[in-house]
Symmetry: C2
Subunit: 157 residues, 2 copies
């Protein structure tokens, strides 16, 4: 995959799979809405504080975020860590008026929080025979993230 293909895959995705380990050392995967990106290195996800993945990530921040497009046979697995934010700054940045259906208390709702996923390495898979799969180093991720700003690629239903 070229760098442009990686940006494109991430930016057009609306959901991603979040991989994490729970309190019992068990692996888990959960689908999350992930449309708020800074380059390929940082991703913000609004979610429920009470969710089991948030409770698990508060105890073990190791996680991965997996983007894929079955129509192009492309996939990108970013490994790194997840930081949970409860402060207003993050919560306001991601807030959409329609989120009130999930968080009746609005931006200040205690069940509303933001997961910041920070990628440290990655691996890509693509349908093309050349460079079918390959690793992405932390340095490459940094170069593909530095100087960029957070952008929300959410497509309204």
């Amino acid at each position: 995959m070229t760098q442009q293909e990686m940006y494109s895959l991430i930016d057009r995705s609306q959901v991603a799979s979040l991989g994490y380990t729970d309190e019992n050392g068990r692996q888990n995967i959960r689908m999350v809405f992930s449309t708020f990106h800074k380059g390929i290195g940082v991703h913000l996800i609004s979610t429920n504080t009470s969710s089991s993945h948030v409770q698990s990530l508060l105890k073990n921040e190791n996680a991965c975020l997996y983007f894929s497009d079955p129509s192009t046979f492309e996939a990108l697995c970013l490994s790194g860590r997840a930081v949970i934010h409860f402060d207003r700054e993050y919560k306001e940045m991601l807030w959409h008026p329609q989120d009130v259906q999930y968080y009746p208390g609005g931006v200040e709702d205690e069940d509303y929080c933001v997961v910041e996923f920070i990628a440290e390495s990655g691996r890509f898979y693509s349908g093309s025979s050349e460079n079918y799969k390959g690793d992405i180093t932390g340095q490459e991720i940094e170069a593909m993230t530095a100087g960029r700003t957070f952008t929300d690629h959410r497509v309204e239903a």
Copy 2:
């Protein structure tokens, strides 16, 4: 989700997401073909011995297998362990003649092996408002697996 809905989701899926931890303690997700099931508890996956997920699972068997259907908003995350088989019995059971394109040496190809995923607990998510999400215990998984035989649900392209 009802038990019947769980069987149906697994049986009609052709791929699943495999979550695991690599040698550096990093979370990873990889898409795998998963069509060979015994109930909901045991799943056989043919794959490349040289793949990074096999090498990681040989060192840390904790894994999860995630089935999902975006069209019905159903998802099932099974947590458990992965055992790698190199013996002919398993390799013959999963072999399809067309697999020779991936494993030129046939059933005996050293790069061909079988991952046996054994579920120990689970969690489901469904689009319906009733029982939107819930846990599945090891006992429930056993009851939904005992007495069943391996069946291949692969749909030929």
